[in-house]
Symmetry: C2
Subunit: 448 residues, 2 copies
């Protein structure tokens, strides 16, 4: 056994020992499936900026940023200082704080479709509240969503997220495919599934339920569909359809708010009625928010005699998440957004160069500070095109394991990167170099 | 204008000025309906132990503890220190941490019905995950819950929470009454509503849907029903019914885990299959958890070839909530639980004395470190009995406003107290004295 193998062995033993303990008390040994990796997850000792050191002292560059939620990397000193200051004053009260008002002011100034805000605790809660508010306002029961899109774990938001060739059905009328076993038939019956970016088919599908749709849910750069932007034409078509049919255009910008200073929605001619937020707006702490038109948000108003959507939440707008969020968003100003997007574009160019050098059938998709690597010669343009076979999934896993274990590079398990402002050209060079090595490694397996 | 009035005026102006800003950017000016009060909410400057100082420098004693979530009051030094230490190491990663394993070990050792844990971000998420896991395990669609019980904002958990005499229907078969306008009929059809603590009626109702019920949801001391404990006989009857009908006994202990060292469930002969947790286990930070039998929790295992309940969450098991939670629960040891419950019982005795002195038709309910004041001569034993008329609601509001504005005492808006270990006899004396004054104040209005 050479010393390289011996190091790997030792590392595995220490991380594996924690995982063995974990398996006794956490189902599958994890509390989030996203951190799971075979044969065991790795455990963090500390993290700073774009570097995470695991319990064995192995330091890796972080391009995942906790599933796109850390726009300024780890332990940003300004955020840490502000949170320490707030900690001494308390973390949660059955009363208000001035900073929740200040943060709502900041967000409404930032995006002109945000007339009113309500803070919640997670992206899942934000989408759930958005769907419930849409129903309360329109008094209609059905939700339209794109096949393959991830919108959190609320039943009505998750249907068809993992649809596959054996169950997705005719593209002209995709099946509503449950994600969780035992999903009630009532949920399935209330979901209308459309093919993302396919105007003709989508309008045809929506028209079949014109009187029943509370909202059309759109993630403007849906990660799980393939991380390519919704077209302006598609957004306009849906916008017009919702105007005509008294329905709500609901954007899920939990991931994509990072794409522009005012969110990915800034890239389109028309604006959503409601937007779900989360991830980066918490500055590294649990948060979610619903933002949108005053008239619709009014369903949540506790002053109304007939309150259409009663809603509270023990930790909603807690001053720690709010404090960190304000600092994070202030630091992510127009210049920071442009500079981060430019660095990400540079990274994409370097990786496209690596693809050419390695001569592999690989392509990239993305927007703003996010991109995803596809093991396909041509960038996919639909969920069904982007869908990975078992063989491709295995190859992606091999590439990610190589990057994590041999190159000390952390990417998201879909083979995606979500950049942070703490990254520099140095880390981008390491990423493209590591990917080049990885592409060469998996190249022989493409033909198998 | 005397100086007392002038002080009140100034206070109102400063708090009102923030609320006026809030109304422009937050629906109803709040992000949580629980902090709303007329004509405006009050805003916190800082809090320490059991005292909250608002932006006008008015210091109040806190008996609400952020809706029962702060078992050690505000800014507990040991929690603050531990969180500051973790802050420097990062707040969220796409990797595991050893402390999430340690916290799961602590909780599984604490309550013997907890074989496996999964952390989420709120009580709402915990109950939603519990319901989804119950369906995934049993492959049955329906949920049985008690009329009037609050279980968070997931549609399937909130039905009939606010049922009232105009819509609750026959007690032998209570209606499933939606809380949010536009709730889909499919949700309403999948809810079975039973009268809490009424064995004969409940079993009769459950029997009518014996093959369809995924879980029977029980809060062992349901705050909104009336904050009186579920009887041992009722729990046993439901337990036996679920054994016979392949259904799950699901406890919501988000609020009640504080009642005993091992939760309110320690008071009963039979144990739940699944338990939803939240509030105090986060040590003042957003958290939720699902705990229960390994065999059922297995539906969440990412290692399974056929994963029945895919589930993740960006901030689930984040090391800040976990760090604060571990310290909070370690400090809330068996001795601390007993001592807190004893102080609460002392408070109840003193308040009962005040009721006698004031000679008012008022009664108390509660368990462990919680109690609720009812404007009824005899403590209610059912939701329908505890239900408040508009007149009684107005009187409760007057009492709470008097306590908040004149006695500087913060209670929950149901007229309930949720104690923290930072309270002492001194604050208890102030509470009973203030309530005595309040009882005398509202006494003349009982006859109107």
């Amino acid at each position: 056994m050479n010393s390289q193998n011996s190091i790997v062995k030792t590392t595995n033993q220490i991380n594996k020992a924690i995982y063995d303990r974990a398996c006794k008390v956490l189902t599958g040994g994890v509390s989030r499936n996203t951190i799971f990796r075979e044969p065991h997850p790795y455990y963090v000792a500390s993290a700073k900026g774009s570097y995470i050191t695991d319990i064995d002292g192995v330091k890796r560059i972080d391009f995942a940023n906790n599933m796109a939620s850390l726009i300024h990397g780890h332990s940003h000193p300004t955020i840490v200082d502000a949170v320490i200051n707030q900690l001494q004053k308390g973390t949660a009260f059955t009363m208000g704080t001035e900073i929740e008002v200040a943060f709502a002011e900041l967000l409404t100034e930032r995006s002109n479709s945000f007339e009113k805000i309500r803070f919640v605790n997670s992206g899942t809660e934000a989408v759930m509240t958005m769907i419930k508010a849409s129903r309360a306002y329109t008094r209609k029961p059905k939700i339209a969503k794109a096949e393959g899109a991830y919108h959190g774990t609320y039943d009505y938001a998750e249907i068809s997220q993992t649809a596959n060739p054996t169950n997705w059905g005719d593209i002209n009328k995709p099946n509503a495919v449950p994600v969780v076993q035992g999903t009630p038939q009532g949920v399935i019956d209330d979901l209308i599934i459309f093919p993302y970016n396919d105007i003709e088919r989508t309008l045809n599908i929506l028209d079949q339920h014109a009187d029943e749709i509370a909202c059309v849910l759109i993630d403007p750069v849906p990660h799980r569909i393939g991380l390519f932007p919704v077209t302006n034409e598609f957004v306009e078509a849906i916008y017009n359809w919702t105007r005509k049919n008294n329905s709500i255009l609901a954007f899920d910008e939990v991931v994509t708010y990072r794409v522009n200073y005012a969110g990915a929605q800034a890239n389109y001619n028309v604006k959503p009625d409601l937007t779900a937020l989360g991830k980066i707006i918490g500055g590294g702490f649990p948060i979610g928010a619903l933002a949108g038109k005053s008239e619709i948000m009014q369903v949540l108003d506790p002053r109304e005699t007939f309150l259409r959507h009663p809603h509270s939440g023990t930790f909603s707008a807690n001053p720690i998440s709010i404090t960190a969020g304000i600092i994070a968003m202030e630091l992510f100003d127009e210049e920071a957004v442009l500079s981060l997007n430019a660095l990400t574009l540079k990274a994409r160019h370097q990786i496209e160069e690596a693809i050419k050098i390695a001569d592999v059938p690989i392509s990239l998709t993305g927007a703003g500070s996010m991109f995803r690597v596809h093991l396909k010669a041509h960038a996919p343009t639909s969920y069904r095109e982007a869908y990975q076979t078992i063989e491709k999934k295995t190859l992606i896993k091999e590439l990610l394991d190589y990057l994590f274990l041999k190159e000390n590079i952390i990417m998201i398990n879909t083979c995606a990167c979500m950049f942070a402002t703490t990254l520099t050209q140095k880390e981008v060079d390491r990423l493209s170099e590591a990917l080049l090595n990885g592409f060469k490694l998996i190249k022989p397996k493409f033909d198998q």
